[in-house]
Symmetry: C2
DNA sequence: GGCCCGCCTTGACCTGGATCAATCGGGTCC
DNA sequence: GGACCCGATTGATCCAGGTCAAGGCGGGCC
């Protein structure tokens, strides 16, 4: 690398400010029943019994954040903890000179916030329109105390996130640009396909990318240009097809997974 | 970067095998009372009342792993969870071609293992001689269920580790070699000094590095050579003195912290 | 239709850090 | 004391990915 990117600091900051202003545009939605909730069995409430669920139901509220809007700002007070019900959000840090690194990608059922602390150390932004199921922090902390099923689920989810963050560290520290892009595409495949049978990449897959090239670059610790060139290179080598800039077809997942040096789901097992 | 390092794959693997053999050299130590334990108020047991502590005391055992020894191997069964009582251990992943990335550095009071799962996805190795306070997994999982103070403490510690991992992602994804080394030194200062008053780097500090240049390189996602050159460059610029290869004196912490682009504890706040 | 505006792609060139290869100490063993 | 070893340093060179700078392309708007 020829020094991490410092370009577009002004543009970057402008985008962030725009995002902050969008906070005012949040819309309130009517509650819907937990029993109907699409993330009922994967979110922080997954292991709740009906009593516990009733308590959560009482304190929850919904919030929709528009695409590009800010969900939380590093260092600022955050009085709600929430689950992503739909949409996609990013966790990232922007350095003072504009360099940015994404450190988390939040999809439906992922949890935002840190019980026991009122600030986060990272920015959380809506990549697409995001609907949140929110809990006022104090109330939620009480529930964590009284409901072991919520506490246990939260611990499991946090441990999973820690594993993801550490795999991501390996990607950022040691993989080449091509390996990073291949790994990114396969991680999307894994998430799409129920994220259970990881390690088995067989057949083909059609992907809709949730991120722009710029955000993919932020995710992978690369520049937009390098990211774009790697997509082109993978296409030229017949590993992927790109019918649209947000569409990727992988004709042979096993062959693509070889590009990550992995023999069972990534060099990053 | 000119492509992540792929050198020394054979040597690396040999070292790992040597480490594995060391498992057989583990020594058993007599128990000592929890009330006398140096990590009593920082480890997973920190919030236990005397009843809970008594239960833990009953199932705990000590284990000393020699320097270079293996504490856990990625993917292999691990039937004990443990706290580091003394010494220093690393969490890392080695790719099939020998590239290695450290993703965690364990110091006294840090916890090893994942309740609810019998394997880890990373290797854990003793950087120096390490003494562990171990709990058989099944028994410990029972305690987590019955003792909310242990469960809560475990959640807090895991959330802290997640923040550390994400800051580390920013370092690996976006900082220059010089910034990485400066950041590494300052993170050691912070850990040494009670790790409370972070953000305030004033005065000078004398450091004993817990890691060799090779392991520092694994930590920072660099090669040994680049790491060594950055130490030399910081010395040449008067930011540090190097009385011995494991000794670093920082005459002006504030000045060194400017090298990380940070104005209150790192660009990585 | 034609213009504009955001993305995305592509090309030419540069450079930070990797690679390859000595060399330098300090420690240990005979 | 000398030979050896192993980690650390330093030098010379290379190259992956960053930087700078044009285009290309699809979608919305008049």
């Amino acid at each position: 690398m020829a020094g991490p990117s410092r370009r577009n600091a002004a543009i970057t900051l402008m985008q962030i400010n725009t995002a902050n202003r969008n906070v005012a545009m949040h819309m309130r939605l009517a509650k819907s029943a937990c029993s109907e909730c699409p993330i009922r069995h994967r979110a922080v409430c997954a292991e709740c019994d009906s009593d516990e669920l009733a308590v959560l139901e009482q304190i929850k509220s919904y919030l929709t954040v528009p695409k590009g809007g800010s969900i939380a700002v590093a260092g600022e007070r955050l009085d709600y903890l929430s689950s992503v019900v739909s949409g996609c959000a990013s966790i990232s840090k922007t350095l003072v000179d504009g360099r940015r690194q994404m450190v988390g990608l939040l999809l439906p059922s992922d949890f935002i916030g840190r019980p026991g602390r009122s600030t986060l150390s990272f920015d959380v932004d809506a990549v697409s329109e995001v609907t949140l199921c929110r809990f006022e922090r104090r109330a939620f902390e009480g529930i964590v105390k009284s409901s072991p099923n919520v506490a246990r689920r939260l611990l499991t989810m946090t441990l999973d996130e820690l594993d993801i963050a550490r795999d991501w560290q390996v990607l950022l520290g040691r993989l080449t640009a091509r390996e990073r892009v291949a790994h990114f595409l396969l991680s999307l495949v894994r998430r799409d396909s129920g994220e259970v049978d990881d390690g088995l990449f067989v057949g083909s897959a059609n992907l809709t990318l949730p991120l722009s090239r710029e955000l993919i670059a932020d995710y992978l610790g690369l520049t937009i240009e390098t990211t774009s060139r790697q997509f082109t290179a993978l296409r030229r080598d017949g590993l992927i097809e790109i019918p649209g800039s947000r569409q990727v077809f992988v004709p042979d997942l096993a062959r693509l997974s070889l590009e990550t040096m992995d023999d069972d789901g990534g060099p990053i097992a």
